[in-house]
């Protein structure tokens, strides 16, 4: 079944077309790697997927219905987006971990928080750490935990391992592949062709705002 269906989608910001004529369908259970040169429109594509922006032309369906039929906040709870440069708000890590619970009016599930920290090989001691003292890699992992406290239907990852070393990249890849095995659809932007092909069943290449290739890996 098609989860996200792009038909002739364009996005322009008045001066220039950033994406043009994108037609692609993302199916439930896909693990799609997105590649392409810098500035080609990869991040813009993911921002369309999680409805932070809307197509200026063409149609975008979610579960077969126009994306505008869904309440934006519900949509974004189902489609998690991890930014290229993670942004942690507040003073402490805790502020970030509690936020998804505050949004849903739910008490913090300590067991869930603990399990997620340990799957990223971190402890909950991090909760009290100040944001300004964290390394780039720690910030990225905490941003991932923040997006995964409630398992999303689709997970959008924007070059999340580019600031991580080999060991940490492996940790993240492990978490992502196990999520995928449990049924989450993954869209992952990466500059590393080897990483792009390792786990994915589809590789989408974007160049100058257009789809250059869509390979299916068996």
């Amino acid at each position: 079944m098609s989860l996200l269906e792009f038909t002739n989608v364009s996005f322009n910001n008045r001066e220039e077309d950033i994406l043009k004529g994108i037609s692609v369908s993302i199916n439930s259970g896909d693990f799609m790697s997105i590649m392409g040169p810098s500035g080609s429109g990869k991040s813009t594509f993911l921002r369309l997927c999680c409805h932070l922006i809307s197509p200026t032309d063409g149609t975008l369906l979610f579960h077969g219905q126009p994306i505008d039929n869904f309440e934006p906040t519900d949509l974004r709870k189902k489609i998690a987006y991890c930014f290229q440069t993670p942004y942690l708000f507040g003073d402490r890590v805790r502020d970030n971990i509690e936020f998804p619970y505050i949004i849903r009016n739910l008490p913090v599930d300590d067991a869930r928080v603990k399990a997620l920290f340990s799957s990223f090989q971190m402890t909950t001691d991090y909760l009290e750490k100040e944001i300004k003292n964290l390394s780039g890699g720690e910030k990225q992992r905490i941003a991932l935990i923040r997006s995964l406290l409630f398992t999303p239907e689709i997970l959008l990852l924007d070059e999340v391992t580019s600031a991580l070393d080999v060991a940490n990249t492996a940790i993240v890849e492990h978490v992502v592949t196990s999520l995928h095995n449990e049924g989450t659809t993954i869209l992952w932007i990466t500059h590393n062709p080897e990483q792009g092909k390792r786990h994915a069943n589809k590789v989408l290449t974007i160049k100058n705002g257009e789809i250059q290739a869509l390979e299916t890996i068996l």
Partner: protein, 258 residues
């Protein structure tokens, strides 16, 4: 205000020699401010004379509807000026008008209810002027802060939106900071009243012969009303204005639009 404190026109004429001091300094130090000084002095005199005659007329015209009309006119002008500080806020004029009007209304209502003032032009117009202009400055600061924050903190807002937060929760910190920015000058000036400055109104009353102990009562009332009006109008305007930075799909509007 008794006759003994009336200033004679001839005295004013002599006092105008003070302007020559300014002109002398400007000429001597080559500040090139002579022309501007003369223009500003002439303008000040003409404007004040005009206002004096207008107020004389207005205060004699005791129709409450007329007073209300004048207050509305002042509110509109203040809103127009405040809205200019936040051009990204599309309905800025409407929002400002509403917030200043509600703030002024509540404050005036309480003052009238307590019997401190009456709905008469010679009380309403100067008091209205004070609170409306104070709100205008506060709203201008709110808008400026808000516009800057919505521009500089896009990452923070979009991160929160992406997690599924509603636009209010995503903007809460910005709204709070903007309200604070609008209110701080009023709070700060209240803090230093009597220590750093004797406010213009109190100075005026004392010059006109009112005992200082009476004059401070008026100043206390003015301080209270400025604080309440500023708080109310900053609060309403910020909670209305933040919507303008999002579209109907709860997306932050594009960089190029603001």
């Amino acid at each position: 205000m008794n006759g003994s404190t009336t200033i004679h026109v001839t005295s004013l004429m002599i006092a105008s020699s003070l302007v020559f001091v300014t002109l002398f300094f400007s000429y001597w130090q080559k500040l090139k401010l002579e022309k501007e000084t003369i223009i500003s002095v002439v303008r000040a005199v003409i404007q004040l004379v005009a206002v004096g005659y207008v107020l004389n007329f207005v205060f004699g015209y005791k129709n409450p509807a007329f007073t209300t009309l004048l207050l509305l006119f002042m509110t509109f002008n203040a809103s127009y000026n405040a809205a200019k500080r936040g051009k990204a806020i599309k309905r800025g004029l409407l929002i400002s008008f509403l917030s200043i009007a509600v703030g002024t209304l509540v404050t005036l209502f309480i003052l009238i209810l307590t019997g401190i003032i009456k709905y008469e032009p010679n009380q309403m117009i100067p008091i209205g002027g004070m609170i409306i202009s104070n709100s205008m400055v506060a709203l201008g600061l709110c808008y400026k802060q808000m516009t800057a924050d919505f521009k500089n903190k896009r990452d923070e807002i979009e991160t929160k939106l992406a997690l599924g937060a509603d636009i209010l929760l995503s903007s809460k910190k910005i709204i709070r900071d903007a309200i604070k920015t609008g209110m701080l000058p009023t709070i700060d000036s209240a803090k230093t009243l009597g220590i750093v400055s004797l406010p213009g109104m109190m100075t005026g009353l004392i010059l006109a012969g009112i005992p200082p102990i009476e004059a401070i009562k008026y100043q206390i009332m003015v301080t209270f009303m400025l604080l309440s009006t500023t708080a109310i109008s900053s609060f309403i305007s910020c909670y209305l204005a933040y919507h303008e930075f999002f579209n109907s799909r709860k997306q932050l509007v594009d960089r190029s639009e603001n």
